[in-house]
Every structure is written in structure tokens, then in C-alpha cells.
Symmetry: C2
Subunit: 272 residues, 2 copies
């Protein structure tokens, strides 16, 4: 894999004064790269722009776009991770007037998941770590991710490929590194993410794909009783696409026709 | 000021793979240093130990203690910031089996605050940013601090030296970089921090000092109506000690006798 870039220059270390380290004061995007192209890239940039507005960080988005494309061309095949931080700080939460956001690009090989994940589906681990409700940060892919770190540390077996996360009120929100969908009587349902959760790029792509294919879709509050009544369940993200969920605790689901249809449509997005 | 240390060695940059940057996966302590000594250091170490247990990070605490003391001796007068992260990671929330926590030490000059802050007291800005309720992380000084960054960005005047933060349910929790106390009919009251907030080292010291001086003290749920009824209000942290609060919105308080007495006792802790 190629070395990391910091502010457009190959580098493997960044200032200890960076506010990304000090406070998690920044955002990130994890982008699949195929044939030198960053996939679903418009959507990644869109979420980054939304996040930077919410965090009041002035990003040079055209520069970031150019840099990511140049980096992806070098990666060719793999995963590109972009981190943007508010830049260097002094002691204290207030940024200095001259603060300059910093861009970090890292490459890693395409992850190799068991083929069974996409074919026969996965089991979800029931995470005890709950997501706090923070509407100001909901939906963003920001650098404050201790909840996910704690949740991912709850299981170490290979039987569970993902974990189900609920909020402190018990609502189903997402999986640790994926978004979740259910199908019920032909309608696609996915948790509302206005209180917490990461609004995934693949989730957004699926919401559009469903609409284009006349598949009714709703984002709403969902709980464990909805999961019990679901006909199909799947998780998705922008790196692996869609994995059917075949089990969660004592619940089991077949890999249904809506999941298969969406998997087929998503392959079109991820294979260029 | 002396250069930063990373894992005991002078260095000003750290690996872009650090999980502190990627996820805010770590903890920090901000320690006042006088005459080469880190002040209230036992309490700082105690909180660090508590945090590392909660985050399931295996820290070498005796090594950290030795290193901090050696660093503080070089700083002599100023503020020492210790960051511990889980260390370098691969892509993904799960740490690798061989992950090694990283220690970062940074020095900065003693901050110069207006003398009036401690003498006549300060005004608190009413922050609109609410703290999410996350009992798993409550009390810790972890690296996920976007809520404080957003709150501190709400005011830019010099009229307000601190900002009051409430949780999503409206309870008073703390100030942006301080803990808060009220005095009501001779009883010292401070918000319970089991849902959110940072359990400050000076707060812990004050709770002990109060007990030693037969001053009744309670940690409990407090809201704006309690603030309206308070006889005295003050904020505290381990760097500046105690600042009386003289105003919040339309409320005003005198600098009362309990606040003055505690300021006197705290000077004993911070002047060695």
C-alpha cells in the first residue's frame, strides 16, 4: 500500500497538537477504491460537507476532492480513509483564530470478508453498549467513536460478523460499522438517525435506489418488536455493500427477495 | 516550553495510525505543575486508572507516573497535558491483539487569567449545546470532546469566562472546562455525574475538603430552579482553582463566605 498523505504530502506522522487527537475534533470518510476511482464519492463528499457545516469547520472541499482523486489513483484497488481535523490547537477547547484544517489520507488493502457473509448472511451480536442521543452530532461520521470501540469489544467470536446497537431509549439505530434495514410486507424500513447513528453513504444510496425501483421505503423509529416482525433484515456499508442478516439471538430470517434484488442493484454501484 | 514527549522520548509528531486520532480512543489529564511538581497528581492518576478500566485499556500506570514526574520536573512551572491512547490501529474499531498504548506529554505555560475571575467572580454563558447521556463514559476525561468544542464555540466575548452546560434532559451538569457547585443554606451542592460530565480532580478534592471541614455536601440532580435558589455559585478546576460565579443570564450572586472559605483552602492545595 502507498504511504499516507498529510496535507497532500507523503507523511506517516502528524503534529501532537492536532485537535483530532486532543478532542476528536474532525470527521472521516472510508471510501472503496476500484480501478483508481473512489466509489460513491459524491455522497462521501456530501456527508463531509454536512459534517463540516455542523462542526463549523471551513474546509476547502474542491481541494479535498482533487487530493482524494489523486490519492485514489495511486491506491488503485483498496480502501482510502480520509480524516479531516480542525488542525493544530493550543490548550483549551476554543480554536485559535488562524487554525488551519488538516487532511490525512490513508490506504489499506480491500478487506477480504467470507463469501458466506453476502451469500448466506450473517448473525448480529446483541451489543449492550447503547448509543447516547445527541441530535447535534447525529448522522455525522465524526471522530468521537468511543461508543463503537466499546461495542466492537463486546464480542470476539467469528460467529457474529456485526453487532446490533440500540440507543439509550432502546430503539434500534444501526450496526457497529453498518446501517440496518428491515423489510416488512414489501416495505423497506430503516431507523431514523436524527438522535444518533451514522448516516451511511450506502444507506443513502439504497434509499435512492429503492425510490428509483418503486420500492416503498421509510426511515422511522424501530425497536426490537419491529425486528421480530420483519420478513427480511440486512446491513450495509460502502465497503462491502449488503450482507443479509440471518440471525439475531433466537430470531432467524431467510435471505429474502428484496435483499437479493438490492444486492444485485448495489453490485452495479460497487463494480465499475 | 520543553518539547513534547511520546512514549518517553522528545517528539512532536505521532503516527497517523494512532487510534486517539481515528476514534478519540484514549484519555487525558491536564495537570498544574509548580516547582517541578505535578499538583493533585494522585487524583489525576486515580481518574486515569478508572478511565482505562472503563475503556479496557491496559496501561502501565507506574511507568506513566514516573514519566509524568520526570516531565514535570523539566516543565518546572506550567501545565502538563498527558494523553494516553490505545495506540496504533488497523482499519476497523477492533484493536489488533498486539496493540500498545501510547503516552503523549505536552507542556504549556501557566495560563494567565484576569485576577477579577477569582476575586469578583465570573459570568456564565448559557450554552445551547446539551450533553448527551452516556453512563458508560460519564465522569471520564476521554478524548471524545466534540460537545465541549461546540459549546465553547457559542460565545466569543470576554464578558463570559465560562459556559453552563445542561444535559439533553435539562439538568445542570457542569461548565465547559470546569465543574460547578452551588451553596444553599450552608450546604454544598454539585451535579451528579453518573449520566454525563467530567468528574474533575478539583471537584473530588473539594468534596474531600468539605467533609474534612464539616461542610455538608451532596452530589445530586440539579436544574435551573436550583440555580435560582442558590445563595452562592462557583466553578472549579485543577488549573485555576475556584472562580465565584456572579452572574448567569438575569441571575446575580454575591461572592459568599463558603466560596471564600473554599478558595482559601484550595490555595493550600495549589500553592506548594
Amino acid at each position: 500500500m502507498i504511504p499516507s498523505w498529510i496535507d497532500g504530502v507523503p507523511a506517516d506522522a502528524l503534529s501532537v497538537k492536532d485537535r483530532g487527537l486532543a478532542y476528536g475534533d474532525g470527521l472521516f470518510e472510508t471510501v472503496l477504491v476500484k480501478a483508481g476511482q473512489p466509489l460513491l464519492f459524491e455522497r462521501h463528499l456530501e456527508r463531509l460537507a454536512r459534517g463540516s457545516k455542523r462542526l463549523v469547520m471551513a474546509l476547502d472541499l474542491p481541494l479535498i476532492e482533487r487530493e482524494c482523486k489523486a490519492f485514489a489513483a495511486q491506491v488503485n484497488e483498496g480502501v482510502m480513509k480520509l480524516i479531516v481535523t480542525r488542525g493544530d490547537g493550543q490548550r483549551g477547547y476554543a480554536p485559535t483564530a488562524d487554525v488551519q484544517p488538516r487532511r490525512v489520507l490513508q490506504a489499506s488493502p480491500s478487506p477480504v470478508y467470507p463469501a458466506a457473509n453476502a451469500e448466506q448472511g450473517i448473525r448480529l451480536f446483541p451489543c449492550r453498549t447503547r448509543l447516547a442521543e445527541q441530535p447535534l452530532l447525529a448522522g455525522l461520521k465524526h471522530l468521537n467513536r468511543l461508543e463503537q470501540v466499546l461495542a466492537r469489544n463486546e464480542w470476539h467470536d467469528t460467529e457474529h460478523a456485526e453487532g446490533l446497537m440500540r440507543d439509550v431509549s432502546g430503539r434500534i439505530v444501526e450496526a457497529v460499522y453498518s446501517n440496518l434495514f428491515m423489510v416488512k410486507r414489501g416495505v423497506l424500513l430503516t431507523p431514523d438517525l436524527t438522535r444518533c447513528g451514522v448516516a451511511g453513504v450506502m444507506r443513502a444510496a439504497l434509499l435512492d435506489l429503492a425510490e428509483q425501483n418503486n420500492l416503498p421505503v421509510r426511515a422511522l423509529d424501530l425497536d426490537l418488536s419491529d425486528l421480530q416482525k420483519a420478513d427480511e433484515v440486512f446491513v450495509c456499508n460502502s465497503v462491502y455493500g449488503i450482507w443479509p442478516v440471518r440471525g439475531f439471538e433466537q430470531l432467524n430470517w431467510p435471505v429474502g427477495p428484496v435483499t437479493r434484488k438490492l444486492q444485485h442493484l448495489v453490485r452495479g454501484l460497487l463494480d465499475i
